[in-house]
């Protein structure tokens, strides 16, 4: 590959070799003036991931510049690792993966296949359509719910799933996301922490500002103890900053809205999500909850939750005959509780 391409895909083995040929090691990367530009770009990688969920597109005009751009990737990974913060790891991984997706879309088929191979995805062409081995498809689409990602609805032939370019690239995005999440945090030592301390402080304060902005303020009048297991799990997923399928976000937002949680609190709950975007989330939540004016969506019933793979560890009450809707569960629990203590006060679904 050309040096310009290596700069676009710095996680490739070939990019690492390209840099190694220039005899640059870890010590040079964290301390030498020759790599100052790489460190500046690396820090920008992390900060842009936090703020915009992508990484900068720096033009690369020379081999030297390519070296700096490639090295900005390991430097960014070192910075993320030094924070040891799960939310940052997930958001950074997703930002790299999304940027990767955008770049891949512009590539021709042979390049896409090469990059797939780099991610250990078995890919090839079948009469000018991209295909991958079904086991790779299954591994990387398990987080993508919805009928269009089910194996049963794929064009599967002789062990290979044929995919349109955009869908093929979407699976590779997932593969890179998972790979980076698995690799980070890298082990770091005091020497590294010392060397990067200035940049690290900047990253940490940006991370804290990011978290502060959207801090979860709890559930207020709404009692999470009365939630059905599916909703508890979705809340935990949201709070842990793990990525959630779209159907899960919809179910959770509509459920919370229905039991009377204020819209702003619902939005804040999603803030730990690695792909959190304040304005987008606000728009979507307002759409789902109707925001007091428009159509208000009812949360999905149990059957739909199951179909969407969102029914987690149903308990006795779920399996009893009365419950076929998460709201019914909440209502029953609220009723039980109120009998024990004081008169019913929780907001009831109509």
């Amino acid at each position: 590959m050309e040096f310009r391409d290596l700069a676009l895909y710095p996680f490739m083995g070939e990019a690492t070799r390209f840099v190694k040929e220039r005899k640059l090691g870890l010590d040079d990367l964290i301390g030498h003036t020759i790599t100052a530009e790489a460190r500046r770009r690396g820090k920008a990688r992390v900060l842009t991931a936090l703020s915009d969920l992508t990484v900068p597109n720096n033009p690369v005009t020379s081999e030297d510049e390519a070296v700096q751009e490639i090295l900005s990737y390991p430097y960014a990974r070192i910075l993320v690792s030094c924070t040891g913060d799960g939310v940052l790891v997930r958001r950074y991984a997703l930002a790299e993966a999304k940027a990767f997706n955008e770049r891949l879309k512009k590539e021709d088929m042979p390049s896409i296949i090469t990059l797939a191979g780099e991610l250990e995805v078995e890919a090839s062409l079948e009469s000018s359509t991209l295909r991958m081995h079904f086991t790779d498809f299954l591994s990387y689409t398990s987080g993508l719910r919805g009928p269009e990602w089910k194996l049963v609805n794929q064009d599967l032939r002789g062990g290979h799933v044929l995919l349109e370019k955009s869908r093929f690239v979407r699976v590779l995005e997932q593969a890179l996301d998972e790979r980076i999440e698995d690799e980070l945090p890298l082990p770091v030592n005091d020497e590294i922490l010392d060397a990067v301390s200035t940049d690290l402080e900047e990253v940490i304060s940006a991370l804290e500002a990011y978290k502060e902005k959207y801090r979860d303020e709890g559930f207020g009048a709404v009692s999470i103890l009365k939630f059905p297991p599916c909703m508890k799990k979705l809340v935990a997923t949201a709070q842990a900053g793990q990525n959630m399928p779209h159907a899960g976000r919809f179910a959770l937002a509509s459920f919370l809205s229905f039991i009377g949680m204020p819209v702003d609190d619902i939005i804040k709950l999603f803030c730990s999500s690695p792909d959190f975007d304040q304005s987008k989330t606000a728009y979507q939540v307002r759409h789902i909850t109707g925001d007091g004016y428009g159509k208000r969506y009812t949360p999905p019933e149990c059957a739909t939750m199951r179909t969407n793979g969102l029914c987690f560890e149903p308990d006795e009450l779920c399996n009893g005959r009365r419950v076929n809707h998460p709201l019914t569960y909440y209502r029953i629990r609220s009723y039980d509780k109120s009998r024990d203590k004081r008169p019913e006060k929780a907001t009831k679904p109509s």
Partner: protein, 401 residues
């Protein structure tokens, strides 16, 4: 120990002496489990380092059932799943009479034939077909009981978790199959007879070269079309619930659309050539036809497997070469090509079992052929030892002192 148990253990021991099961691939990473004739528990969490250790255990303990794990572990004999260190698992398909439509009420022999047919269809259509598994990495066994097991040990498949295996199950069983995935449609504008414009969906028939459920959809479509041509109205209505309220004229329309001549070919030929379903005389007939095809897909094209077995990533499964404690039949490894002629009651009776005469008392009249011997009649009779063991273990007979 009663007489029957002693008899069974004698014959089982003889089998394990004469033809010990070969060690499964990756022996040292497999967990083993056993059940016994004379003890009431399952012994699990066992590991063997050498083929000889396994052989010695079988000879000394003479288990009634022998299992090994589909999973590979760091420490297969560790007492809990957490400590074992899961490294991957073969993908297993279990075809058992309990999960096959129409197996109830059949004789043992006919039931085995039906399950075998299902197993062959599953292999051809899915495992070697759509999943493209390498024959060298697929082991097919007769389970010794009421069905067949298929083990896939491709390293790419071994790393899949339960959720991913669930997707494989859904593919095989056609669960959550979208109509769109079989017959892709697009919105088209049509003018009705009063020249009003309506938006409708135009369905495409998948091409011969397409894969997945599309190809099966095309095959099912041809099957249904053929049936519509040869079956009478009553037969069709009985076969397809969607047609129950269809008038005779509608059925005639259906036949005309499919088998009437359109220029130089029939309607069906035209549809298949143009890969389009839009050659029916009316939308009503087209919709009915789609319903018939979907029903056929679900009934005839889906694999009938015991789903939890496939989903499980740490299942114990019968050891090939061992004996089934409820039949005395051997878990036989088969090549796909050998399945056609395979007859469990002839080919899975261990060679080590002797044919000396043994007196048995049948509980009910029996007529069944075991190896080359026809057991036919009731009450007391003398049969070869290999047949006697089958009857005793099936609990159809007891030994006569």
């Amino acid at each position: 120990m009663n007489r029957e148990t002693a008899f069974a253990m004698d014959l089982f021991r003889e089998h394990y002496r004469r033809s010990p099961p070969p060690a499964p691939a990756d022996l040292r990473q497999r967990e083993f489990g056993f059940m016994f004739f004379d003890r009431d528990f399952v012994r699990r969490h066992m590991g063997f380092l050498e083929e000889n250790d396994l052989r010695r255990f079988l000879l000394n303990q003479v288990p009634s059932h022998a299992y090994f794990s589909s999973a590979l572990y760091e420490r297969p004999s560790a007492p809990t799943m957490d400590l074992k260190g899961w490294k991957g698992a073969d993908l297993i398909f279990d075809l058992d009479a309990d999960h096959i439509r129409g197996a109830e009420g059949l004789s043992y022999e006919d039931m085995l034939k039906l399950v075998k047919k299902e197993a062959m269809a599953l292999l051809d259509r899915f495992i070697f077909g759509e999943f493209g598994c390498d024959e060298r990495l697929v082991r097919i066994t007769f389970s010794g009981g009421r069905g067949y097991h298929i083990h896939v040990r491709d390293p790419r498949v071994r790393r899949l978790g339960s959720h991913e295996r669930g997707e494989i199950i859904d593919f095989v069983t056609g669960t959550d199959l979208d109509l769109e995935s079989v017959f892709p449609s697009s919105a088209v504008m049509k003018k009705d007879f009063k020249e009003r414009v309506k938006v409708e969906r135009a369905y495409r028939i998948p091409g011969k070269e397409e894969g997945g459920w599309r190809l099966l959809g095309r095959e099912a479509l041809e099957m249904v079309a053929k049936e519509a041509g040869v079956m009478n109205d009553e037969g069709l209505r009985e076969r397809y619930p969607a047609l129950q309220r269809a008038k005779d004229a509608t059925l005639a329309d259906l036949r005309r659309s499919l088998h009437g001549m359109r220029g130089d070919c029939t309607g069906l030929e035209l549809m298949l050539r143009e890969n389009s379903l839009e050659y029916f005389t009316s939308d009503r007939v087209k919709e009915l036809f789609i319903q018939m095809v979907l029903q056929t897909l679900k009934e005839r094209m889906t694999g009938q497997i015991d789903e939890p077995v496939t989903r499980d990533v740490k299942r114990l499964i019968r050891l090939p070469g061992s004996l089934h404690g409820k039949t005395g039949l051997k878990v036989v490894t088969l090549e796909r090509d050998a399945m056609n002629d395979f007859d469990p009651l002839r080919d899975a009776v261990p060679d080590a079992f002797p044919d000396r005469p043994v007196k048995v008392r049948l509980k009910e009249p029996v007529s069944i052929r075991v190896r080359d011997h026809l057991v036919h009649g009731s009450g007391d009779m003398e049969v070869p030892a290999f047949a006697a063991l089958f009857l005793v273990l099936r609990r159809w007979a007891v030994l006569v002192p």
